[in-house]
């Protein structure tokens, strides 16, 4: 799934990952004010979040899976 989560212990809430994500995958959690992965299925493995994060808080696997293709959906 590529991006898995953002470590809340490391995240400093700078929002750079949110701004750099071209697929709108990451959001700021309103309560904790930390970045959270909201739409992981839309990650395209571009690695911008990894490159931008000053805290190395992004947990990322080098694997991208696609959903099974179904008759409707």
């Amino acid at each position: 799934m590529a991006i898995e989560r953002i470590d809340p212990e490391l995240c400093n809430g700078c929002k750079r990952c949110v701004d750099s994500c071209p697929a709108d995958v990451i959001r700021m959690d309103r309560e904790s004010r930390k970045a959270v992965v909201r739409y992981a299925q839309d990650c395209v493995l571009c690695c911008w979040c990894l490159a931008e994060c000053p805290q190395d808080a992004v947990v990322f696997t080098p694997v991208k899976t696609s959903p099974l293709f179904t008759s409707w959906g």
Partner: protein
């Protein structure tokens, strides 16, 4: 989901839509004319689209010994004579001034030991490009963003513009959809510049175009603008397992963690070979040598000689085409330029960068750094022209009915309880268009069959797309725009009954100069998509008295 009408209404002289180099240049240049400018971007301006991934910037400079005639002759030939020479030439001539702009704003280029910029010859050594400073790691577009702000432009990030406003035949603004809010935005503008980049179908193999979902040309088409035909396809390849381009971003900035080093195996390398171990043929020296030009891998696949591998320093990598699915050759996407000021066929609407289909590179790209330089050049022209037009206009009052119509159009998928999800329709579109024998090795019967499927998607699935939150509403509009673009691509491919550059028709494998030294454009007429052939001026034709094989050194299968 409640998308209420609201107070988010902004007015300006010039509205720039997009967030890459073209958008930044257009906004700065319009602002320098004295116009009140707003830049609105789907992502975060300065990190959007393909610009942060760019390596090179073409800068033509006679003081460096560059010869215009030689550069033009090279492009005319490699483009297979369907480049628009006006735009090719102006992109070259004005590229050095745009390079100076970048320098003056603080963008760094790689320098040699003598302190001068390193000039990299592009194969086969006719043209040159300058390299962005590697350590900047794509951040040069962030420097442009800072200049945009210094110019007094208001930047609004993370709003997808989803529909244009039209009044009395003129584009007067648009409606935008914020990433995280139910409240739509209305922008009222005396002039609007589309700088939304190229177009693609969200292919997994090429992250730089994941945001570029044909939004500009789809909005413009719906409003009645003419669009450039989309038959000349981009032919990037990727690794079969992972996208290309990944290491560029990460490597530039950080030490790559051990568990992600698998990402670093590049699909770029010395040469390609097929399943039988045969090296794919070298191109003739006179043809474009640019890596992603021509359909060599697709021809091998069609002959049953896949898989294709690329030899590289880190071992052989299996590669596959379609990495850029939905994207045209550079500058062969986008709005038809109706004049030399980057105006579209609709008053009040301009386009620049890859959103302007000016055919700078014709049917086969051969100008590394030329795409991004061309963006800066056209955006400068568009920014100045749009500002001048806007500043001459009186007060602009847009009727509430038009704004309400556009908002209703944008909200519609959020008001449906069910139907078809944007992700599923996008996946269906990708599966429909991806096979090599549809989008790359083309033939009338297969194109027609696929067109029937896409027409069904247009008629039955798109009107019933549904969204449960603002993110999915964005996906719904992206999906709708991509399906429309797929129809344009298929119809254009059917229309051009010849082969040329990156457009190959198995049933018409030769160039047909008497009939097809022409461009195609697309327009909506009485609810139908109409294709129009626009002849290229005869003074731009090759000498038809020279033998065909000499005019075109690259042979297509079946010729």
């Amino acid at each position: 989901m409640n998308l209420s009408t609201n107070q988010n209404r902004l007015e300006c002289d010039v509205l720039v839509i997009g967030g890459g180099i073209a958008a930044c240049f257009a906004a700065i240049k319009a602002s320098e004319q004295g116009a009140k400018v707003i830049l609105v971007d789907k992502g975060f301006a300065g990190k959007s689209g393909q610009s942060p991934w760019a390596n090179n910037f073409m800068a033509f400079n006679p003081d460096w010994g560059h010869k215009l005639d030689a550069w033009m002759e090279h492009i005319n030939r490699t483009s297979e004579y369907v480049n628009n020479r006006y735009w090719t030439e102006i992109s070259m001539k004005e590229s050095y001034a745009r390079y100076r702009d970048l320098l003056s704003w603080g963008v760094q280029f790689k320098k040699g030991e003598d302190g001068q910029p390193v000039r990299n010859p592009a194969p086969p050594g006719v043209t040159e490009a300058l390299q962005f400073e590697e350590e900047a790691g794509g951040d040069w577009v962030q420097i442009l963003r800072k200049q945009v702000l210094r110019s007094g432009v208001k930047i609004i990030d993370r709003i997808m513009v989803a529909e244009l406003l039209k009044q009395d035949g003129r584009i007067v603004g648009c409606v935008g959809l914020p990433a995280e809010s139910d409240e739509l935005y209305t922008f009222i503008a005396k002039a609007t510049i589309l700088c939304v980049g190229a177009c693609g179908f969200k292919p997994a193999g090429y992250p730089p175009i994941i945001q570029l979902t044909c939004d500009g040309e789809a909005m413009a088409y719906r409003a009645g603008a003419e669009i450039l035909g989309k038959e000349f396809v981009d032919t990037h390849i990727s690794r079969t397992d992972l996208p290309i381009g990944v290491p560029m971003v990460l490597e530039r900035k950080k030490d790559v963690p051990e568990h992600l080093k698998v990402l670093l195996r590049r699909a770029q390398g010395k040469y390609k070979f097929n399943a039988e171990g045969e090296r794919l043929p070298d191109r003739p020296a006179e043809a474009s040598q640019y890596q992603y030009t021509y359909l060599e891998s697709e021809f091998e696949a069609h002959a049953g000689r896949a898989p294709i591998y690329r030899a590289s320093d880190s071992g052989n990598v299996q590669v596959v085409g379609g990495a850029c699915l939905g994207m045209s050759l550079r500058k062969a996407d986008g709005l038809w330029p109706a004049n030399t000021r980057c105006g579209s066929s609709l008053p009040g609407l301009y386009a620049a960068g890859d959103a302007l289909g000016n055919m700078q590179n014709g049917a086969a790209y051969a100008l590394p750094g030329g795409a991004i330089a061309g963006c800066a050049v056209t955006a400068t022209i568009a920014g100045e022209a749009a500002a001048q037009e806007a500043l001459q206009m009186g007060e602009l009052i847009v009727a509430e009915e038009e704004s309400a119509r556009a908002k209703q159009f944008v909200q519609a998928p959020a008001q449906r309880q069910g139907g078809y999800s944007p992700r599923w329709v996008t996946q269906l579109l990708q599966n429909t268009m991806m096979p090599y024998f549809i989008s790359y090795i083309k033939k009338a019967d297969r194109l027609q069959t696929t067109l029937t499927t896409v027409e069904f998607m247009q008629e039955h699935l798109v009107p019933k797309l549904f969204a449960r939150d603002p993110h999915e509403l964005r996906l719904a509009h992206e999906t709708k725009n991509m399906v429309l673009s797929a129809e344009m691509r298929l119809r254009s491919a059917l229309f051009r009954t010849e082969s040329r550059g990156n457009h190959y028709r198995e049933d018409y494998p030769r160039r047909d100069d008497p009939n097809w030294l022409a461009w195609t454009k697309i327009k909506e007429e009485h609810g139908q998509m109409k294709l129009i052939k626009v002849p290229i001026p005869k003074e731009c034709w090759p000498d038809l008295s020279t033998p065909y094989e000499q005019r075109y050194p690259f042979r297509f299968p079946g010729e």
